[in-house]
Symmetry: D2
Subunit: 340 residues, 4 copies
């Protein structure tokens, strides 16, 4: 068995890593850290893991050596502690924004000055559909943001095929789990229930990742919606002259035909004709779809996923499966529920 350590296991991404890894036939969890909950049982705040994960949280400074490490939140605020942590494992998956942008200027624009800009651009990108080859050998991997993943998977095939004009708007919608497990008045049930909260009216930080991955000029808005999980992105683009629906579908199908976790969804009938996070909760799928108005060239590209799985923990485990030469779907087989 390959041993896994999770740094920051009290949050929701940490919980999903625990759920997935505890059901993974090749992995075992050797340590889970939390500064706040050190000494407490892991299933105390992840109650779905009762009878599944029989562990207590460790303080981060007691992290033992392990084969693989997952970092769930930013560690560049204390570079010395970061060094100590990453030295515990040969292979590290970083799910925080720390390493996502290669260009320090881009990072600065959205997050402020990077404390260790020399780290930028070194990690492989934990998005298997685009970086599978690099992931086979990478020991340092940065997993992209949830709305960035959905947008990149919706945009990239058409951008690569030269089918898009350069400016794209992205309208991201995300559930409350995207705000994390820490209390705050903004996320109280009474305040968050029923909202359509435009928390980033312009220039949401994920637009930098999407631009970096697609070469497009991206303008991104984000809205918190009344759901616990789920991301949906609506990317508005203008198709190059004369592109047809069949061509768009053809490019998507060619790109994703062999991908285990991307489905092209453009149905003519039924209640679920376009990508919809409702049916993806708990699964590692990213569904992509589109609509084209041939007369005007308007193109709407849609991506949907579970922000905590394909938008985080699932991408990380899929990347690890690739790194270890295992079946890429190991531990990620859950189909999603309908209805739910």
């Amino acid at each position: 068995m390959t041993s896994v350590g999770i740094v920051g296991g009290a949050g929701y991404i940490g919980g999903e890593l625990l759920r997935i890894i505890s059901g993974h036939p090749e992995l075992e969890i050797s340590a889970v850290t939390s500064s706040r909950l050190a000494g407490r049982r892991v299933d105390g705040n992840h109650p779905n893991l009762r009878g599944r994960v029989d562990l207590a949280y460790l303080s981060p400074d007691r992290l033992p050596e392990c084969d693989v490490l997952f970092l769930t939140s930013s560690t560049v605020g204390d570079l010395q502690q970061r060094s100590a942590l990453v030295s515990r494992a040969k292979i590290v998956y970083d799910l925080s924004p720390d390493l996502r942008l290669a260009d320090p200027a881009r990072y600065r624009e959205h997050y402020g000055e990077h404390p260790a800009p020399e780290l930028l651009g070194e990690a492989a990108v934990g998005l298997p559909e685009l970086h599978r080859e690099a992931l086979r050998t990478a020991d340092s991997v940065s997993v992209p943001g949830c709305m960035a993943t959905a947008s990149i998977l919706a945009l990239r095939p058409l951008a690569d095929a030269g089918m898009l004009e350069s400016t794209v708007t992205v309208d991201g919608r995300v559930g409350s789990s995207g705000s994390g497990a820490s209390a705050g008045e903004l996320n109280l049930h009474a305040e968050r229930s029923g909202v359509l909260r435009v928390f980033a009216p312009l220039n949401h930080r994920h637009q930098a990742e999407i631009s970096q991955a697609t070469g497009l000029d991206v303008r991104m808005t984000a809205t918190g919606v009344d759901a616990v999980r789920g991301v949906q992105v609506l990317c508005r683009a203008t198709a190059a002259r004369g592109i047809t629906e069949a061509e768009v579908r053809g490019v998507y199908r060619a790109s994703y035909a062999k991908e285990p976790f991307v489905r092209v969804v453009t149905q003519k009938r039924g209640n679920y004709r376009l990508p919809e996070p409702k049916i993806l909760l708990g699964s590692n799928y990213c569904d992509v779809g589109f609509a084209l108005d041939p007369a005007s060239g308007q193109l709407l590209l849609i991506g949907a996923l579970d922000n905590l799985v394909k938008g985080g923990s699932g991408n990380a485990v899929q990347s690890l499966n690739i790194r270890m030469g295992w079946d890429e779907s190991l531990g990620l087989e859950f189909a999603g529920l309908h209805p739910a």
Copy 2:
């Protein structure tokens, strides 16, 4: 105009008092206090009042004199401050649990030792349907709890008519606004959404109020449900031998025929045959209904209301309308929404 002060205007009950009073033709708000938000605009945390209430919060120690005072939360923790506050007005409505129980022993069982037991039993009860006469002259009024109000209005007519065996169970369900506006992990949207949280499996504190008001032996459970507002109580009783459905309906109708805010709901058809908080949000109604199994004598009595209105602010304003000799419905005309 009669001037009103609200002590503790940052919470949800305070917000509803502000909404109702700002639309009341005989009342004007002269002061709203909040220790935490002193100096901030009132519509900053009650955004529905933008353009309606143009006030800033005062520190409680700056409360001016006013005709009527509403206390929204407990003040017996600092009896000196309490005295200072209540001295500002001739008429005081206390919406906290401080004065709800007449018997110090009963209070102790649910809340601990009362800091000023001599206050108990002095205030009139702010439940117009039962205490209208006392409320015409009372200068100190204690408004009952939200689930207590619904239960008492469902139980009392039948208890008075001698139709109930003495032991009753109450199953209360309440939305997240009942937990107040203060942040806490327990009430995060991601943790509270979709729950059926049995937060009081036995002996919920409102059972003491219900016992006091009905003389019954009450056993109460409470569950937090996925709603922001709303209370529904299911009271299981055993009917005295031979009672018929027509008799139960007759007693209810006789009790509530002239009440402006209690409706007897036992429909034979339609989607809303029994009391349901969904259609009561924002209104001052308490709907009551029942089902009887004549063979076994099983009786289910149901009450529903908006916990922040008839379960708090609305009862207080209705009581004040009575005290001042105004139309009892002033400021409380809103019908509720359907669908919502």
Copy 3:
């Protein structure tokens, strides 16, 4: 009292007309029709009106004469019946799409051939903020669509001021009540709960109304969200060169300073900084707000309202208040609830 007839009173817009009119001091309901529910009590399917509206539905062919008529759904499918209906009243408010577009070609594009194109362009537009003068005397009024109203109120002041480049995208979000009260698998709770259903990926029909009202080239997408009521529109535009935030705010404030039901919402703090339908349910407000990125000229304009009130019944009643010379807010005073 002015007598009112409602044709099509079984649906949700009909229900809101009934709620508002039953609380309006100058209006009385003389008839409510429903083909499907003729003979049944009105409060049977609008349970919030119990004790408020004591009427039964009439068959449309039994509609009596009345002073004012509201048509809640399309009547041009049977022009003879339509003539009979509108002949019953001097003043008619049509809340259906029948008369919303002046140009038959535009109508055809979204709804198919109009059965009576000669009716187009004759009615006044039931949007008081833009057409108050015409509404003072108009006897035939067409009330715009819910998402169109929010978009037009967000866009029009800036379009009039020449501040917008001509192409605008509109991302509309709407609750399930916008789909009406008729059963259908698509709108089952289990299928509709938690959705982000992109039911109109391109060219939603309301874009024709918005174009007509603003002169802009509008491209509209619409998504059904997990809410019963509420509309929010995100309009992406490009500001003319050099426009500042202060100028945008200035134009909005000048346009809406005297409007009783439009608020400009762009707060720097708090949980509700931009327009949000959650706090508007039951109210007649349309809140508008914006964000501007001066560097790129990106402008996001946001409108929010209750689709059944300001998006339908409320606009109609406000228009009638204007027609009759009454206070424009009569019957529309409800502030909205927070939290809800």
Copy 4:
């Protein structure tokens, strides 16, 4: 591989059978029937199965022979068709109410006259925790109702231990998926969202199953809540004199220590101290817990499960695993999601 046929695969229980069986290493789906959808793709109405189940619905009369058959809804209305169907397989799991009650009189009371009373009492009960031995060889199995399963698992150990007085009330709460996938105004999102709908105020039909399984006098109420999935039952009982909390916990633990899918949940801290369906969606767990007031002997027993899994499809597959001598958890490993 063992071949499986599903009769009635268009509904929600059918969908969950398909999801579970398509991920089961020993089973393959050979046919799925639906009268209404014959000829249509299965993933058209179960969109979570896209890429997982590549089948079209068959008309029931074209059901081929298979090793195991699941019947998802009542078949006793047409006994000839029923015979034809069950003749196709050696082993049949019936998830409808048809065979759940052994006593025709009890059946009559809740469902009307049974068309084939000779079938009653013949099938084994598909509740592995109580009937594992019988299930090892049974070729005809009747799977209990969702609320019955939760109640029986909560009540039975204490009833067997003689710890309960004979009369018990059950307050069942259930999500909208329990009403099935067929359209109906009652279950429209706008009508069902936010409800606490007491659809069975007394004598819900599952009380007959619970009585049959426990020997207790059961009085059951049921409420539809705003959730898609999930059942929670609150069983109020009176403990025999002198019973302690430790004794109750001991009995539960002894009964369920070796059960793979029953967990005893009575935590002293955390947000999820008692059984809660929110964390069980998609899983095959039934969590049980309790609270005891030693002074009065009041006992509240709580059970929670996913109505479509442990309340139906999961119990059926677990029973089949037992029948075939496989690991009892095959195909049922999903842990449930938190948060969700």
